[in-house]
Structure formats: C-alpha cells, structure tokens
Amino acid sequence: MELVRSLGSWAMGAAMAISATLALPLNASGAARAATPAADLLITGAKPDQLFIIDAATRSIRTEYHLAGANGQIFTIVTSPDQRIAYLLVDKMERILGIELATGREVFRADLSAPDERVKDFFALTVTPDGKELIAYELPTRLKPSEYIVEEPRFAVFRTDAGLAAKPVRSYPAPRRIHMLLMRPNGSTFYALGFDLYEYDVKTGKLLDTRGIQKWALADHSQPDLLAFWPVTEPTGVFTSPVYSELKKDDKGVPMTALMSLNLKSGELAYADFEPLSALIFSTVLSPDRSHAYGVYTTLTSVDMAGHRLEKRVPLDHTFYAVNVSTDGREIYVGGTNCDVGFYDAKTLAKNAILKLPGCSDQTLSTLRVIHDH
C-alpha cells in the first residue's frame, strides 16, 4: 500500500500523452467471434490442499477436492488441452500433481526432488497441445552433508501417462530466473519468460530465439520489470502482463505501466505504455474480442487495447492477484488471494457477486483458470 501510494505520487503530474513505439497486436477478426453462452467453470486452489471447481453461472462450488499430495499450497494450475486434467504445482514447488477434474483422482505425480538433490519449480510449467508431455522448469540444488551446491537450471519433460512416480524422459539446460512457461499451439516449441523471452524446441531443447524483456524495445525507457506467475492465456491464446519501467523525460524518470502482449500462435510480441503508474497491477487477462485487458491488485483496471489507455478503474474489496474473464467476455473473475472469488461486470466493472470459498483458506498465488463445462 505504501508502494502504491509513493508510486502514485511519482506519477502525479506526468504527461498523459504517451507515444507508444509499438502497437499491440490486435486481431481484427477477434471482435467478430461469436460469443458462446457462458458455461464457465473456474478452478482455483487454496491452502493447504483444497482444489475448487466453481460454477461461474450459479456462483457456487461445483466440487471441492482435498489433495493428499499438496502439502501446504497449490501454486500454478495448468489444464490438459481436453480440460479433463489439472496439473498443479504443489508441495513447496517440489511436486507436480495431475488431478482428473471429474473424479479428483490423482493420475499423475512427479516428485522433482531426490534425497540428495532439492528441486524447485518456480511457478513454470506447461503441457503440450496433444496432452502427452508436461514441461517443468527445475532449479536444482545438490544437498551435500555440509553444503548446498547450486546447480544449473533445466527444463524437464515428463510423459503425462507416466503415472504416480513420473520421471523426466528428457531434460535440457535452461536459463536462470525463469518464472513462466507457455506452450505454443504448434506443439513443437514453447516460450520461457525470465530475463528475456526465450523460445525452445520441445523435442531437442534447442534455444531457437531470444527476444527482449529486460532488453526490450521501448525507446527512452529504463530497464523494465516483469514478474508474472499466472500463465493465463484463455480465452484468446494471448498472454498479457503488466510491465513497469520509467519513461525518461526531461532528465526525469516517469514511472509508467505498459502492457506486454504475446500471441502464442503468431509469436507476435508487443509492449505499449497505457498509463503513468498510478496503481499496481499483478496480473492481466485479455478479453475474448481483444479490445480490453483487465488487471487486478487493489483495483480492477480496464485497459483500452486499441487506444493504449486506461479506460476505467474501480477499487476492490481487498487485494486480488489473479484475474480471468468469461468466455463470452461479459464477466471478469478475480481470485488468487484470500478466500473469495469475485465476479465483475466487464463493461462497468461493477461487482456482480462474491463467492466465499468453504473453509475460508487463502488462495495464495494460485492460478485462477477458466474451463468449459463438458
């Protein structure tokens, strides 16, 4: 809160007219997509072992599972392409579970650590489009009797049919400080977000491309800051995230918020400032018609994608880390902290409903996912 305030005061008086040097990718046909009737199910996790499936239309808990293997907290949630299985990063980031959503049955388990090697996956995992392979980012530490030895990070590939004692079928070197993996729809490459945006070959682990995040392309800006734990790409196949930097103006730095946008299919990467920083945003999601991005933290923010401008902002009841959007684009879902999930009108940002999770445990950083009712 202090930070928000101080950042807010820095931003006061800053010029509103920002010349964006890059255009955000706008899919002209996006707006014409037919909105399907909302039959959204939300998935979220809460401490210490709860996995919830929420019926968005009725604002009710469809299913609540207690996962024996969670051990404290559910971090990242990714779903299989057929949306039947949720893969969950759990157990202090040292275990990945695959849970069949219809039954709660554990169908996959990979324990990343071994007695002499502690392995943490810092939020980053993804599944191939055919659902057959899961890629995890591994930060290993060799545990010797009297010392730790930090080892080089790696990507570890698991077969999803490997059962409850899954071991990697292959692994290859990875950069340090990766915090997100995003599979491309072609199934042959995936993105890794860290210091920069890297693209890797799924089969060979070959680094195919590196594009700037810290060395980004916005002129007259300081080194940007991007850290995102919520690999939300539904419903558009475009990942978005707030990026913070300072615009160098008259020998002064004006804190700015930009939106980074990565189209997983086309590979198009864009950044554009949309406001002098006046509120922190933890995560964003792109509307189905790609006309708006919605961001959350202490406020719910709506960004006009075409105009690169802040459109509307309303205060939230408390901090929310995670955001998603209904398949028909009419409603925004907020979660990721405390024990409630909020439903907000996408046009007015008015609060439609709040659902308290049973037991009122903290969702703490859990991804808020949207899948479709089968």
């Binding site: 305030r5 807010g8 502690r118 009797p145 010392e147 210091f195 080194q223 406020t299």
Partner: protein
C-alpha cells in the same frame, strides 16, 4: 516460520551452568570441541581437529545461535539446550570476533531500534542489505571460498532470492557466486591479526563493584552500583542497586555469560520486568557498556554504562545535562574520585553557587544556583579529581525529534507490535549561532498526516497513538474493512513534539512510518 525474540534469547542465555567463562578460561566439563565432534561432525567432517565449514567461519554469539537454530529447524539437528549453549560458547570463544571487528555492527547485536545500517556501497546494499541488515554480514568472517559457499546456501535455501524486487533486476546468482565473495573476503576475512591478538589475551575477571549509569528514552535516567560475582560454571551474577533521577530507589539482579572474553549477555530482573543485556567489556576490562532492553520488546530499552569502582577519577554521568540561568537545580554526578575536599570543592564555574548535598567518592549531589546572567554555553564542572561538562542556557530555541525517522510495526497474529519511542531533544542557540544540545525534555506528542495521500487515507485515525512519554503505540494488524481496499492499519505520519519554555512554545517534527508485522525476528536482523 515465526520465531520470537524470547525463544532466541532463551537459547542464548538459558542454561548458565555449563561453560568456560572467558575465552582463555578453564575448560568446561565436556570440552566444546568434543561436543562439536559429537553433534556436528556427522555432516561437517573432521580433519585434524578442524571441521568442514564450521572451522572456516567466525561469528558473534548471536551469529552462532542463528546457525544452530537453522541446524535444528531446517536440518533436523537434535540436541539439548544445555549442549546447544555449550557449543555456542565454545564457537563464540574460539571462533568469535575481536572487539574491533564487532564494533561497527554492535547496533545490530544491541537491537537498537531505528538504527542506521552500515553503508558498504550500493552493490552490497542491494545484494545483501535488501533482505537483512548489512551488519549481519559484517559480523561474520570467512575467506572467499567460504563466502561463496554462503551464496550457494542462500539460493539453495531461498529460491525466491533471484525473483524478488532488487534481485530480479540483475543476474543475482552470477554476482553472488562470482565477484561478490572476493569483495566480502577482502572486507571481512577469516584470518586477522585483530583476532589473533585478541585471542592471545588472558580473560578479564569482571568480579567486583561497578559504578553504573543508564539512560532510557522516554523513561527516567538512573545511576547506582552493580556488584558482579562469579557463578559456578563460569558465568556471572550481578546485583544492582539503582536510583532514578526522581530519587526512586530500586534493585535488580542479572545472570550473564561473557562470550569471546568481552561479550556480556545477561538476563536481568529489574522492577518486576525481564530485561536482556548486550554489553561489551572494554579491552582494558574496566568499562562495560551497551544496551539493555525488554525481553519481549527489544525496542523498549536504553543505554547502560558501568565502570569499575575505584578506578581513575571520572565523571561517568551528570544529571541533568543542562542548567537554566537563574535557576537552582539539584545535580547528581556519578563516577570515580568525585568526593570534593575542603581545598577543592565541586565547581560549576563562574556565577554558580554550589552547595554540596551528598559527597561520596562515587556520587556527589549538589545544589547549583546559577546567576540570571550566567553565560550560556558548555562549561566545565569539576569535583574531586574528576571533571565533566554541563550546558547552561537561557532559553530553548529548538526541539529535535529523535529519531528523526522511525518505524513502528503493527501487532497481530504471532507478531507483537513494535512501538516507536521518540525523544524531544532541546537545544539553545548561542550568540555565535551554534546550537548547544541541552538533552531530552518533556513534550506533548501528537501525529498528523505526513502528506496529502496520508491525509486522504486518514492514517492518523488508524495507525495508532502516542502515550505521554513520547512512545507511539501502533494499532492491531489485519485487513481493516473500514479502510480502502480493506487495507492494513499502516500509516505515514509526521510526529509533532511541542514543549513549553516559560511562556513560549517550541515545536519539533519527525517522520514515522507505521508498517506491517515483522514475522521473523532473529537475534541479528
């Protein structure tokens, strides 16, 4: 993980029956090295009396307590508290820091609230100081290889270190494991002549009578005597007979260990409260000074100095520190060799009439009547063979709020609130324009919004309140539905101290940030 200060301190000074006394004192029942062999060498292999990692590090007693805490908490080491204490003593005595090596970081050992951390340049400020005090690093000694191993420990233990703010903006690991260890080893090497020389000195025996003075911000200064005696097992016990400046007499007692030959760590009971004592013995063994504080609230405490009774003539302390021209004031001086004789009465300089009320070697009390035209300024005071200083003034011109910037923490859950104690320090302006400090004075304390944003969010309504002694007592923590975003009861406040000087009002201002709980409270932040 939440570990209270009291628990840590229990580990530091719980079992006082086993031990060695000074760093070159008699061996304990079970030699420390044998305990390290028994409890540590399963992982830290022994090679010719040296133990992997352990023998390559020097630390303060608190530093070794933190190490053993981690071994118990994270690595499953099981050992009884008495064995823990013996190992801490052995390691602090044989692999400690010389007085000159711990001097710069003493504020951290003394848990001084609102202390300014050490400045070792921008790189170490960010690489080390963004998570813990730089003093925590500066109170350790390692060679380059061992500093590098510490970098491995950091990343191996705390994955988020490369991702958190001021870590993710740079290749943190590459710096921490690359050039940084050599820089730390140059600043804080394992082998030093300071340590070799110190270890060669015989342990000082603290037994005897001591003259004491103390200052407690927001409380009453005091003075008196301490009797220190040896306890079986190599520790000490102390008995205090003290008097505050309002003539209230009180007693207390303490049990203490002296680590590394000079690090006094005591656990005291004074006026029905439990206090911790973190003092350092001077290299000549004649002065014991540091900070004492409430066992549960380290922010509540004060200064403590003791000198050996019968030493060279010295005014240890003089109460009050300043006298108003035209006033008559009872002045107390404590120290050594203070008793005035017929030939050499206590003197407060020109225009001061002195009447002796009490005249003892260690305590002299005099009524000082200053003429109305007494010259403002610092003047010399003499009594017996000792000299001191007192400030003379005609009016108070300035109030400084000390500390000028402070932090208080909300309390809630397992975390106790952390109050912020302020003092109104008065000064007078001398004809030459200089400000002459007059010491603390009574003031009325209030808080107002620090800026427009703090006013808008009405921090002053939520963050807490002042008591009459200049102590800001923060509110309870937690989401507050009455605040924007259900925000916590944090606040950004301007502290206002208003004092009256005759018919005049003098005001001083400071800055107070009331922030969230601190969940982890190790002996060295």
């Amino acid at each position: 993980m939440s570990i209270g200060l009291a628990k840590y301190w229990k580990l530091v000074v719980s079992a006082l029956v086993i031990g060695m006394g000074g760093h070159a004192a008699a061996a304990p029942a079970v030699p420390g090295q044998e305990l390290v062999r028994t409890y540590c060498s399963g992982c830290h292999r022994e090679n010719s009396g040296s133990f992997e990692r352990i023998s390559a590090i020097r630390k303060t007693p608190e530093g070794w307590v933190m190490t053993l805490f981690r071994m118990r908490q994270v690595h499953g080491l099981v050992l009884e508290d008495a064995v823990h204490d013996s190992i801490v003593r052995y390691l602090a005595d044989t692999q400690g820091l010389a007085p000159s090596e711990s001097a710069a970081g003493r504020f951290a050992l003394e848990r001084r609230p609102n202390a300014q951390d050490m400045d070792l340049g921008p790189e170490i400020s960010v690489m080390c100081g963004r998570c813990h005090s730089i003093a925590r690093a500066a109170l350790q000694r390692r060679d380059e290889e061992e500093w590098r191993k510490l970098a491995h420990t950091h990343v191996g233990q705390w994955t988020s270190i490369e991702y958190s703010a001021s870590g993710r903006d740079r290749p943190w690991w590459q710096i921490a494991s690359g050039p940084l260890p050599a820089k730390l080893a140059a600043l804080y090497p394992l082998s030093t002549t300071a340590w070799t020389d110190w270890k060669a000195l015989p342990a000082r025996d603290l037994t005897g009578n001591w003259v004491v003075s103390g200052h407690m911000p927001g409380g009453k200064d005091f003075f008196g005597k301490a009797r220190i005696d040896r306890e079986e097992g190599g520790g000490y016990k102390a008995a205090y007979q003290l008097t505050d400046v309002t003539d209230f007499e009180f007693a207390g007692e303490s049990k203490a260990l002296v680590y590394t030959g000079y690090e006094w760590r005591g656990s005291a009971q004074v006026r029905d409260r439990s206090w911790r004592e973190v003092y350092a013995l001077s290299e000549d063994g004649n002065r014991l000074s540091g900070r004492w504080f409430d066992s549960e609230h380290a922010e509540e405490g004060g200064e403590w100095t003791a000198i050996r009774e019968g030493g060279a003539a010295e005014v240890l302390a003089l109460f009050p520190q300043s006298l108003r021209a035209g006033s008559t004031t009872l002045v107390t001086m404590v120290g050594n060799g203070l008793a005035s004789t017929r030939g050499a009465p206590a003197s407060f300089g020109d225009t001061a009439k002195v009447t002796v009320v009490q005249n003892e070697a260690n305590r002299v009390r005099v009524l000082v009547k200053l003429a109305a035209n007494a010259t403002p300024g610092m003047r010399k005071v003499s009594t017996g063979g000792a000299t001191g200083k007192v400030a003379v003034y005609t009016q108070i011109d300035q109030i400084d709020v000390v500390p000028a910037y402070a932090i208080a923490r909300l309390g809630g859950g397992k975390a106790a609130p952390v109050a912020a104690q302020f003092e109104a320090m008065a000064s007078t302006r001398l004809p030459n324009g200089e400000l002459l400090p007059l010491g603390p004075m009574t003031a009325d304390w209030t808080s107002i919004p620090f800026d427009a944003e703090a006013k808008r969010t009405e921090d002053f309504k939520y963050a807490g309140h002042f008591d009459a002694r200049g102590r800001f007592l923060p509110s309870a923590a937690g989401p507050n539905p009455a605040r924007e975003f259900s925000g916590d009861n944090v606040g950004n406040l301007t502290v206002v101290a208003r004092a009256t000087d005759g018919s005049r009002s003098v005001e001083g201002r400071g800055h107070l940030v009331v922030t969230v709980q601190r969940w982890i409270t190790p002996p060295i932040y």
